[in-house]
């Protein structure tokens, strides 16, 4: 039993890292643009989809190339989403509400297009084969890759945010859009770059997860709800909160699925989110206003 629990906890870390990567993009866009990109989960799904398609059939690309293709494609998707569904609405009186609606439409568009063309059947992408054995623990190499890439990405993001001009511009826009524009920062470009970076991040998460769990057209919808759980618990706009809560959520879900069916574990998580909103609306790490 103990072995099983440890095994599940270790597997949970990589699942949680995926949640963290998706939540990170969501929280980054919220932090900088003060809008929720509801289509973010579907970008994750498309990342996995591109990886599956690129690895199979005509293209038959090796996994690393398929990942690169997925990341590049999703970076472009992020740029298009910003251009088509976010930027034109931001300056409206009720911009935030309209962006919620338009990105909701984009998410349905992506999910239903894939569903209608590919069908609901799950698909598999071959990833990094092999596994690591430590004592009684067996860890799939792909799961190690997920955690390693995830940690690397978070460190890179922190470096970019703290050390580079772009990071400073981004933080300036996040703090005060108006003032940032006044000192000559191209606010639209920063917004566009945020969308590109966040979407590339979600695409990467999708490409990494495709060999671990099966790809399915519904995975975007599932992951966006989990990502919401993560950002609400971690405090909207907080990078640390997203990573900590993402990993914690993955481990919790993984451990819970030992005792109850997977779907009931999700129900428990969702119920906990609603309870959290009732009793501690500022999130676990947020300050009481």
């Amino acid at each position: 039993m103990a072995d099983l629990l440890v095994q599940q906890a270790v597997n949970g870390i990589s699942t949680g890292m995926i949640y963290a990567l998706v939540a990170l993009g969501l929280t980054l866009i919220f932090g900088v643009m003060h809008v929720i990109n509801f289509a973010h989960g579907e970008v994750f799904m498309m990342g996995a989809f591109v990886t599956v398609v690129a690895g199979q059939g005509l293209l038959g690309l090796p996994y690393p190339l398929a990942v690169l293709l997925a990341v590049a494609a999703m970076a472009i998707a992020g740029w298009v989403i910003d251009l088509a569904a976010v930027r034109p609405l931001l300056n409206r009186a009720e911009g935030q509400t309209d962006v919620l609606l338009s990105t909701f439409a984009v998410s349905l568009l992506l999910a239903d297009t894939v569903l209608a063309s590919h069908g609901p059947a799950p698909a598999f992408a071959p990833g990094w084969e092999g596994s690591l054995t430590i004592g009684s623990l067996t860890i799939a190499a792909q799961r190690v890759l997920v955690v390693a890439v995830g940690v690397g990405l978070v460190v890179l993001l922190e470096m970019v945010l703290r050390r580079t001009d772009f990071g400073r511009h981004l933080r300036a826009v996040a703090q005060d859009r108006f003032a940032a524009r006044a000192v000559g920062i191209d606010v639209e470009r920063v917004g566009s770059a945020t969308f590109v970076a966040a979407s590339a991040c979600a695409g990467l998460a999708g490409a990494l997860v495709a060999p671990v769990t099966m790809f399915s057209p519904g995975m975007g919808h599932q992951v966006i709800i989990m990502a919401f759980v993560v950002v609400v618990a971690g405090g909207m706009g907080s990078v640390t909160g997203a990573v900590v809560c993402g990993v914690a959520l993955g481990v919790f879900e993984s451990l819970a699925s030992v005792f109850i069916p997977q779907s009931m574990a999700s129900v428990t998580v969702f119920a906990l989110l609603l309870v959290l909103l009732l009793v501690r609306p500022q999130g676990l790490f947020g300050q009481r206003r």
């Binding site: 929720i36 509400t97 609606l101 439409a105 568009l109 239903d112 069916p261 609603l274 909103l277």
Partner: protein, 594 residues
């Protein structure tokens, strides 16, 4: 005549819908068409529910299928498992959805913004998983079959099921539309619109904004539950898909495409979305893709929806009609002014002391001015007194009663009402509607306002209108009462913000730079108006930069500098104080008092 009738029907079509509910079942016999109209009406009811949030409160729900599915499951399961008469189970389903709505409201409305979307989305997914996995109760994905529930007495006199089912659904739609329409033309709807356009103003004018937002989500949940309960005889089978995203998305689309913030919008949207799937049958696989594209295009290109093309059709009535009924009783015009005591009030922002140990008092009926250079902490001081920001330390007492820690609307209801430095108004509403926002402080929302009928409602609205007219007269706005707030010249907007506060019947008025940006003549007019307010007995605490106006107007001046009190006394004493002079002009040997 025709034009004004059309105008009335477009804004307030409730009675027309009621008429249609009675007539349509008489002429519509073909089961295919009757079933289609039932579906359209259910979608329209669901649309009215979403519109309450999206159109009037300005918030998005991604999971309205949670309430819709809950209504269907509660009504259906009660009929199948407990043998309760289906038509009696529907009200229970509505109550259950209302209860869940109240919880969602509480969970989301303290944060506002996107949290309603997140909470409803999560709830819908949770319900879907439960419905799909609680096999003993719901048979999971297979679903529960609910046979058509006949009403025996009606069958006995030969009315077929199709006919009275259609009538019941249409009647429910008309009733829901009528209730929403009447709420929106009354004090409740006015408060919702005020919360949406200028929440801090609504709160400061004595509206319990959190409670009213939660009430809106509760009502919306109840109406969606009704829609769910009514759809069961049409679909026969309760399946977890009822909670699916496509239902939530359709509900949003019905409102966005039909036209948000209108009563007819959801009805038009409902008709379209009952018909569109029939038209799209050849490309059924891509139906949802087309829905998604439509939603995106509507939000981008036609944010007002189809009804929006006909202009602003917010349900409202000319203010004059509110006077119908008993003659308004104007209040006597005398106010019992309140005494304000501030002691050692302090507030730091991340270690930076914005206000430190500030104390002063205002006797009943006095005008006390807060002056000081920019950044001296005047506005922060006002925010602390009015409850907009929580103070770190110190005491705020109104007639000797501590009020620190109360919410702004509670403080407003105790008689202390504020205005804002930046002009904060509901720009889409006209002058009298803006001023009416303040009046629920004096004439609170009653049961009549919620039931939207009765003599008490008419009397309450008449009293509110009388209060508003008095406040407009005091601030010289009577001639502008029908003008849109956004179209007023700047000076009139400043006076309007004071009038909103006056309509709340303050015993003490807190004014934050009411004269900012006014010409000398306008400032003099304002000062004269404020003297009239004081003559009625109201105490005034005023922040302003205009030292000349302040020293003429105020009985006492309190000078703030770097967050601390530099001097407090009569204008002559204070302006002769060397510390004050040096704070304003730099150290100066020659003292020139104003």
């Amino acid at each position: 005549m025709i034009g004004s009738l059309l105008e009335r029907v477009l804004r307030r079509p409730g009675f027309l819908l009621l008429l249609l509910a009675a007539l349509v079942p008489l002429v519509l016999h073909a089961p295919y068409w009757s079933s289609l109209v039932v579906f359209a009406a259910v979608l329209a009811i669901l649309g009215q529910s979403v519109n309450l949030l999206l159109g009037y409160l300005g918030q998005v729900s991604f999971g309205h299928a949670a309430f819709y599915g809950l209504g269907a499951y509660v009504a259906g399961l009660m009929a199948v498992k407990l043998g309760v008469d289906y038509w009696l189970a529907v009200p229970v389903a509505v109550a259950a959805a209302a209860g869940v709505g109240a919880l969602v409201g509480l969970a989301s409305q303290r944060l506002g913004g996107a949290y309603l979307a997140i909470a409803t989305l999560t709830l819908a997914e949770m319900f879907r998983l439960i419905a799909a996995n609680w096999i003993e109760l719901t048979r999971g994905p297979l679903g529960v079959v609910v046979l058509p529930q006949k009403i025996a007495p009606l069958e006995a006199i030969g009315i077929p099921f199709d006919r009275y089912y259609l009538f019941i659904v249409l009647f429910c739609l008309a009733l829901v539309s009528l209730v929403v329409e009447r709420l929106m033309t009354g004090a409740v709807g006015r408060s919702w619109l005020a919360i949406r356009e200028a929440a801090p103003l609504a709160e400061a004018a004595g509206i319990a904004t959190l409670r009213l937002r939660v009430a809106c989500v509760t009502l919306s949940g109840a109406i969606a539950g009704l829609a769910g309960g009514l759809i069961v005889p049409k679909i026969f089978v309760l399946s977890p898909d009822l909670f699916g995203v496509i239902n939530s998305a359709t509900a949003l689309l019905v409102v966005v495409l039909g036209g948000k913030a209108t009563i007819l919008g959801p009805v038009v949207g409902g008709l379209i979305f009952a018909g569109v799937p029939e038209l799209l049958r050849p490309v059924a696989d891509y139906r949802e893709v087309i829905f998604a594209l439509l939603l995106l295009l509507a939000v981008r290109l036609m944010p007002g929806g189809i009804m929006g093309l006909l202009g602003d059709r917010l349900p409202r009535r000319p203010a004059a009609s509110a006077t119908v009924g008993p003659a308004p009783v104007a209040d006597s015009g005398k106010v019992r002014g309140a005494r304000l005591d501030i002691a050692a009030l302090s507030k730091s922002f991340r270690g930076l002391a914005a206000v430190a140990d500030v104390s002063f008092s205002a006797e009943a009926g006095q005008i006390v001015g807060l002056i000081g250079p920019n950044g001296a902490g005047k506005t922060t001081c006002l925010n602390l007194i009015s409850g907009a920001i929580a103070a770190d330390r110190g005491a705020v007492e109104l007639d000797g009663k501590p009020v620190r820690g109360l919410t702004p609307h509670e403080i407003a209801r105790l008689g202390m009402v504020r205005t804002f430095q930046q002009t904060l108004l509901c720009s889409r509403l006209n002058v009298v509607e803006n001023v009416l926002i303040g009046t629920t402080c004096v004439v609170p929302l009653g049961i009549g306002d919620w039931l939207t009928v009765g003599g008490a409602l008419r009397r309450a609205e008449a009293r509110r209108l009388a209060l508003a007219e008095e406040a407009m007269a005091l601030m010289g706005l009577s001639d502008l009462s029908e003008a849109k707030a956004a179209d007023l010249p700047y000076g009139a907007q400043r006076r309007l913000s004071v009038a909103v506060a006056l309509a709340a019947g303050p015993r003490i008025l807190l004014l934050d730079e009411p004269a900012a940006g006014l010409s000398p003549a306008e400032a003099a007019d304002l000062a004269a108006a404020l003297r009239r307010v004081r003559e009625r007995g109201t105490t005034i605490v005023i922040v302003d930069h205009n030292v000349q106006m302040m020293s003429d107007l105020c009985d006492r001046l309190c000078v703030l500098h770097h967050g601390t009190r530099l001097a407090f006394g009569t204008p002559v004493e204070v302006l002769a104080d060397p510390a004050v002079v040096s704070a304003y002009l730099g150290a100066a040997p020659a003292v020139e008092t104003a």
